[in-house]
Amino acid sequence: MKRTAYTVAIALACALFALPASAIDYYREGNDAYMAGNFDLARERYERALAENARDANLYYNLGNAYYRLKDIGRARLNYERALRANDMHGDARANMAHIRETLGERDEEAHPLLSVFFAPYYSFSLNVLAIAALGLFSALVFAFGAFFVIPNEYVRKALVWTAAALGALTLYFGAQMVVKYRIMYYNNEAIVIATETSAHSGAGEQYEPVFPLTAGMKVQIVETENAWIRIALSSGLSGWMRAGDLERI
């Protein structure tokens, strides 16, 4: 009886937390097609896996590769960006993204030296490392707090107060860096230009004159939306309107 209950519980847990087998099947079929050089079929299989609600970094990464091999740089970058949002330590996605950026002639903006020092953990560590650091420091803070209640020695208690203050400050520091990184990764309202060649217009419509050209793979910031037009801004400060169909939100 007990064994049956355990089996049912495990089956239920699997059904709740695991993906249907088809997503993994599509992923494997995509890999096989890619290895065979059939990149269009690979893309189609990976997209089917995505339609099964999979949000895996490797899946996005492989889809990006398939698009790259199909010479669709815009969608390739879009999927590398999504792979990095799913796992910002995905080394292959980072490398391929760097290659695309290099091809597009993009450069990293240099942060102010003071900001670089203050945000050193932000620049140096992944989101998970920051989260684990914040959790670890918070755990140490809790232990120090608990020890304060248990240990009667006055000197040790004073030392624990200072330790707890330092741990609290460090927890806040790493926690804030984690939150900033999380916000930037998941709520920054960015999009990738997927149209091969398009232009930003001075207003929301074809009747407005084009103000600057855009090429596939460029990353833009979405400012506002009006009907089928989106106002975007580039990191250089240029701003304009473009058709919603020419870009895709990350």
Binding site: Y34, A57, N62, A131, V150, Y182
Partner: protein, 540 residues
């Protein structure tokens, strides 16, 4: 000119001098005067001298002729006087600020304008044309806001160049301007013919005489460019399409290698010109037939720092020798068009000699690797996996950090509660603990009674009752019976119960020294104590 700001300077040096105040009532003072005053030791006289410099930024209020009176200062009994200054204020040209800047000088110079400077008006296809828009201003405070409109340049491919220059002061006509570049771009013409680089428009904020920010829309100038086709005469068959001045090199990562092991051959062309779209020479002809070659990685970049554009194109090849012995990578020719010399130029890489030693037979892995690198610069796909994530890898997307935090805080809470309980002062376990301690004491009392130890019997009853009450009333263990009773009276315990408690305490005190009336009397005492605890349980 009316509405045009100007500055007067006042400077003096001497012993015990005071700065005179000029009469500037005919003008609007744009901002408080800028002052600089120092006290310096004059080494010739050995005395301290005061040195000051004042500058006043002024704006004329009306046209006409105005005189700023002569100023005097006294030092050591002598008087020093300046000459009076005459300022002629002309009527304002109503369109001056917004008028289009005419580089030929047929129009009056505006107070603020954007000037476009073009490096060359006649160029070859692919030759860089540098265009710079610079703001020129006579307003005291001017701040460029943004580019309002891009002029566009049909038939050109362009790239923006990072600006590092700061504002400088320059003279133009009879005026002194502050000027700084606002945009610098390099344009590469794609086809021959008459082309136009459109005029950009900019939004600029200036501070007017009323100290208000006025927003102006200024236009730069369009540039007409004559683009010539590259000459057919002398065009090499392997022309790369590069226009400018370039150097070219070929190198390998290793010169002694085993057969069927890869060598990386790198070709690099760099120089003043556009690297994008440039074709590298066909390297296959330079490689012996007993070696395979695969293109593995391409890198092209235009470096726009330093005000110029420098293009670099690098292509990496994987060369796999299939036979042992020495083999030569012949010199490779790279040709480009030099606009400064109006001619095609060619440059050659050095010859490379490679020694191939006998190695293992070709493996499928190597071939597969070469195939995967062929015409690709990206990493390979991720392999098989047992499961695909639904939510990404961030740990806070999953429940375990929350469970961990919950358990951590629960543990901390438990530690605090248990510690407080152990101190026996407060908490919801204190009630049970008091009752248990009393119960244990009464058990011991009964055991003592069974063993015939009457003293132990009474003393345990007293201990049990006292301990119960001190725990429940949060009193120290050493609290006296009087203290306990007085605190109980405050807590609205019925007088009858209090009387009963006092009686029990009294009986316990005297019972040790007084023989019991009968067998039942001692047992009644423990029963009364238990009844009291039951009564207190309801009240406390």
């Amino acid at each position: 000119m009316l509405d045009e700001p100007f500055t007067i300077f006042l400077a003096a040096q001497g012993v015990n001098i005071r700065a005179p105040e000029p009469d500037l009532s005919a003008f609007t003072l744009l901002s408080p005067p800028t002052t600089r005053a120092t006290l310096e030791l004059n080494r010739d006289t050995g005395r301290y001298e005061r040195r000051f410099a004042y500058s006043y930024q002024l704006l004329p209020r009306a046209p006409g002729l105005f005189v700023i009176d002569a100023l005097s200062i006294e030092s050591e009994g002598k008087t020093y006087t300046t000459d009076p200054i005459t300022v002629r204020v002309r009527e304002k040209d109503p369109d001056a600020a917004l008028s289009f800047y005419d580089p030929k000088g047929t129009q009056p110079l505006p107070i603020v304008f954007v000037e476009t400077v073009v490096s060359k008006r006649t160029v070859y296809v692919g030759e860089p044309v540098y265009v710079e828009d610079a703001v020129w201003t006579r307003y005291p405070r001017t701040a460029p806001q943004s580019k309002a409109k891009d002029g566009g340049a049909e038939g050109f491919w362009s790239e923006e160049i990072r600006i590092t220059a700061n504002a400088v002061t320059k003279e133009r006509g009879d005026f002194v301007y502050e000027t700084w570049p606002i945009l610098r771009r390099v344009y590469f013409p794609l086809t021959a013919g008459q082309k136009t680089i459109g005029a950009n428009e900019y939004i600029v904020d200036v501070m007017n005489r009323l100290e208000e920010v006025e927003r102006l829309r200024l236009s730069a100038q369009a540039a007409k460019i004559t683009v010539r086709a590259l000459p057919d005469e002398g065009r090499p068959a392997e022309f790369s399409g590069a226009v400018g001045a370039f150097s070219f090199s070929a190198r390998v990562n290793i010169t002694t290698v085993e057969t069927y092991s890869p060598i990386t051959l790198t070709l690099e062309a760099k120089g003043d010109g556009n690297a994008k779209g440039m074709q590298m020479p066909d390297v296959r002809a330079a490689i012996p037939k007993h070696a395979d070659i695969y293109e593995s990685k391409t890198f092209e970049r235009n470096d726009c720092s330093g005000g110029r554009i420098r293009g670099t194109k690098r292509v990496e090849y994987l060369v796999i020798p299939k036979r042992k012995g020495a083999f030569v990578i012949a010199p490779i020719t790279f040709s480009y068009f030099s606009p400064s010399e109006n001619a095609y130029r060619a440059t050659e890489s050095a010859q490379i000699v490679i020694t191939a030693l006998q190695g293992e037979e070709p493996s499928e892995t190597l071939t597969a690797r070469a195939d995967s690198l062929n015409a690709l610069s990206i990493r390979h796909i991720a392999g098989d996996t047992k499961r695909l994530s639904k939510r990404g890898s961030f740990i806070f997307f999953y429940s375990f950090p929350y469970v961990y935090l919950f358990l951590l805080l629960i543990t901390l809470g438990a530690v605090i509660v248990v510690k407080r309980e152990s101190l026996g002062t407060k908490g919801f376990f204190a009630k049970g603990r008091a009752k248990n301690e009393a119960k244990a004491a009464f058990e011991r009392a009964r055991a003592n009674r069974a063993n015939g130890e009457n003293d132990g019997y009474y003393s345990e009853i007293e201990k049990g009752l006292s301990r119960y009450l001190t725990l429940r009333l949060h009193l120290p263990r050493s609290a006296s019976k009087e203290t306990i009773c007085s605190l109980l009276s405050v807590k609205e315990i019925p007088k009858r119960t209090l009387k009963k408690l006092e009686d029990v305490f009294e009986a316990l005190e005297y019972a040790r020294y007084t023989p019991a009336k009968n067998e039942r009397a001692p047992l009644a005492l423990i029963k009364k104590a238990e009844e009291l605890i039951t009564a207190f349980e309801e009240r406390l």
